[in-house]
């Protein structure tokens, strides 16, 4: 084919251009579905409980990702400050993931358990009362806003369609019991969602207001879980290198 015939035929030019540029995309994307080591084989990672899931929704809707990343990179300085680098396995149930790319505030990938519930609640309501030099805005309305979890089942079913193992049938539930243990499997059962959300909100006084379930409860529950699922003391130096 003469080059000129491509240049003067715009339809053909478009088709061939698309073919050429899609090679780049295919080479980068397709292997991720086939390379077996992409997601590390690691114990402890589970889908979010209904309360954590609502907390995560609030994290997204309040735009926390705009200033906070959830991605500790494998560098010595990051390790010293934030802890073990993030694993792909740790965000396998995130849709979309919250890695972020901007750190106006600190990374939150392992913030779970670092501060008390009381601290988290007060810090979200009035950051400057604890850290005077902070530029984080106040999120005090989270304390006054009742958590709307009327559609929690729908939210779980939507995530299930993307591959998160929330269970609806008995078989799926049994598979979860096998994989995550009974306590976790109960939390992941869609028809249990409201009960388990209320139970988790009551089990710990997340926001200092035991009589009602607020958006603060959900967000603090989510934050306190971040980065705590994998017990890194069980793995030796260099264990996760094999997945690269």
């Amino acid at each position: 084919m003469k080059h000129e015939s491509i240049e003067i035929n715009s339809g053909l030019l478009i088709v061939l251009t698309l073919a050429v540029i899609s090679i780049g995309g295919l080479v980068e994307i397709v292997p991720l579905f086939h390379i077996k080591d992409t997601v590390e084989d690691v114990g402890g990672v589970r889908p979010y409980t209904p309360l954590e899931l609502r907390g995560r929704d609030i994290y997204v809707s309040e735009g926390c990702y705009a200033c906070h990343s959830q991605m500790i990179r494998p560098f010595r300085d990051e390790m010293l400050r934030y802890g073990h680098y993030s694993l792909a396995a740790e965000s396998q149930y995130d849709h979309p993931f919250q890695w972020g790319s901007k750190r106006t505030g600190p990374d939150l990938a392992r913030v779970g358990g670092k501060y008390s519930n009381e601290w988290q609640t007060q810090h979200l309501a009035d950051p400057q009362s604890l850290v005077p030099e902070s530029i984080m805005p106040s999120y005090s309305w989270l304390l006054d806003t009742k958590l709307d979890y009327s559609q929690i089942e729908d939210r779980m079913v939507a995530l299930k369609r993307t591959g998160v193992p929330y269970s609806q049938s008995q078989e799926e539930y049994d598979a979860n019991v096998e994989k995550f243990g009974k306590a976790v499997a109960d939390e992941l059962h869609v028809s249990n969602a409201k009960q388990s959300l209320e139970a988790q909100a009551a089990a710990e006084d997340w926001d200092g207001k035991p009589d009602q379930i607020t958006e603060m409860d959900a967000l603090v529950a989510y934050l306190q879980m971040l980065g705590t699922m994998v017990d890194f003391s069980k793995y030796e130096d260099g264990h996760f290198n094999q997945f690269r």
Binding site: V27, R76, H123, G238, N241, R244
Partner: protein, 306 residues
């Protein structure tokens, strides 16, 4: 495609002709640009050979470049592992043997082997411990105690003042960091007709109020139930973490926030007496090594007056 014409005095064209007479000038790429472009191609080929590059099947070419680090095998021996280049292996190597990791390890080792008294006498080690303590404080303590250790009245103790609830020996500070603290003053059941005198008496201990005569003796009598922890003269008890009430430093009742308003000061004190206070500091023993806690103690101790 015909060859471009190249007659003298005529601009070279690409040879393309549109609509019978439209021609396109041929402006070849500068030589340096072209060579730079060829170099990037050579670079890419070298990169493919050295580093992970091309995917195939369920794997990818790993490259011939390697990274070495040590691991402990099942017999507990240190063995060197050589692995195809990847960022995680680089990280493992950096944590083990980068110059900064080795330098830090050396100094941390010195701190570990020295007593607090020896560290105080050795300016270099002291400086290292202080800067490590500073960084650790910023990451683990500043969120509650403030970046300057100023704390927050009523919630998180001020570490930068002269008052040390549990004393300021290094050993005590390390102990509190590692094991945490459960601070508790129970709510007091003081009769309504006594609470005013008691509050005034407490305020008078630090010379911020005048109290005399019968009121003073009634206040002192009511204070008897406080004396078990705070001492008969209100001087506090470091073993229990009961604060000294006879100095003008306030950690729970926000007396300084009242300015000169005595009624407000009394209300603050009454509030604490009636409601008690419960404060918890988490244990950091799981997150910080003993040596880290010791360096932190050195840093924290110099923040406050001794």
């Amino acid at each position: 495609m015909s060859q471009p014409e190249n007659k003298k005095g005529q601009v070279e064209t690409t040879g393309h002709v549109w609509d019978g007479d439209l021609r396109e000038y041929n402006n070849p790429l500068p030589r340096w640009w072209l060579w730079a472009f060829y170099m990037t191609i050579v670079f890419a080929v070298v990169y493919w050979i050295l580093y992970p590059a091309w995917p195939y099947g369920d794997s990818y070419t790993k490259g011939i470049n390697t990274v070495e680090y040590t691991v402990e095998n099942e017999q507990g021996e240190e063995v060197t592992v050589s692995e195809a280049w990847n960022t995680r292996a680089l990280f493992t190597r950096d944590m083990q043997s980068s110059p900064s990791a080795l330098a830090q390890e050396e100094w941390v080792g010195k701190v570990k082997d020295m007593s607090f008294e020896e560290i105080e006498q050795d300016p270099d080690t002291l400086q290292f411990a202080m800067s490590m303590g500073n960084y650790t404080f910023g990451d683990f303590c500043a969120a509650c105690h403030g970046s300057g250790g100023q704390g927050k009245i009523g919630q998180y103790p001020n570490l930068a003042d002269n008052a040390w609830l549990y004393g300021n020996s290094y050993e005590t500070i390390v102990n509190k960091i590692s094991h945490g603290i459960q601070g508790m003053m129970p709510a007091q059941n003081v009769a309504d007709d006594q609470i005013d005198d008691l509050a005034k008496y407490v305020l008078s201990l630090s010379g911020q109020a005048e109290i005399s005569g019968e009121a003073a003796s009634r206040g002192k009598q009511a204070f008897a139930s406080c004396a078990g922890c705070h001492g008969a003269e209100g001087k506090g008890n470091e073993a229990m973490g009961a604060p000294n009430l006879a100095d003008a430093i306030w950690g729970v009742a926000d007396v300084p926030g009242c300015g000169d308003d005595t009624a407000c000061k009394l209300d603050q004190i009454k509030h604490v007496v009636n409601n008690g206070i419960q404060r918890q500091m988490p244990a950091f023993g799981d997150r910080l090594s003993e040596t880290q806690a010791r360096m932190l103690a050195i840093y924290v101790r110099q923040m406050g007056g001794n």
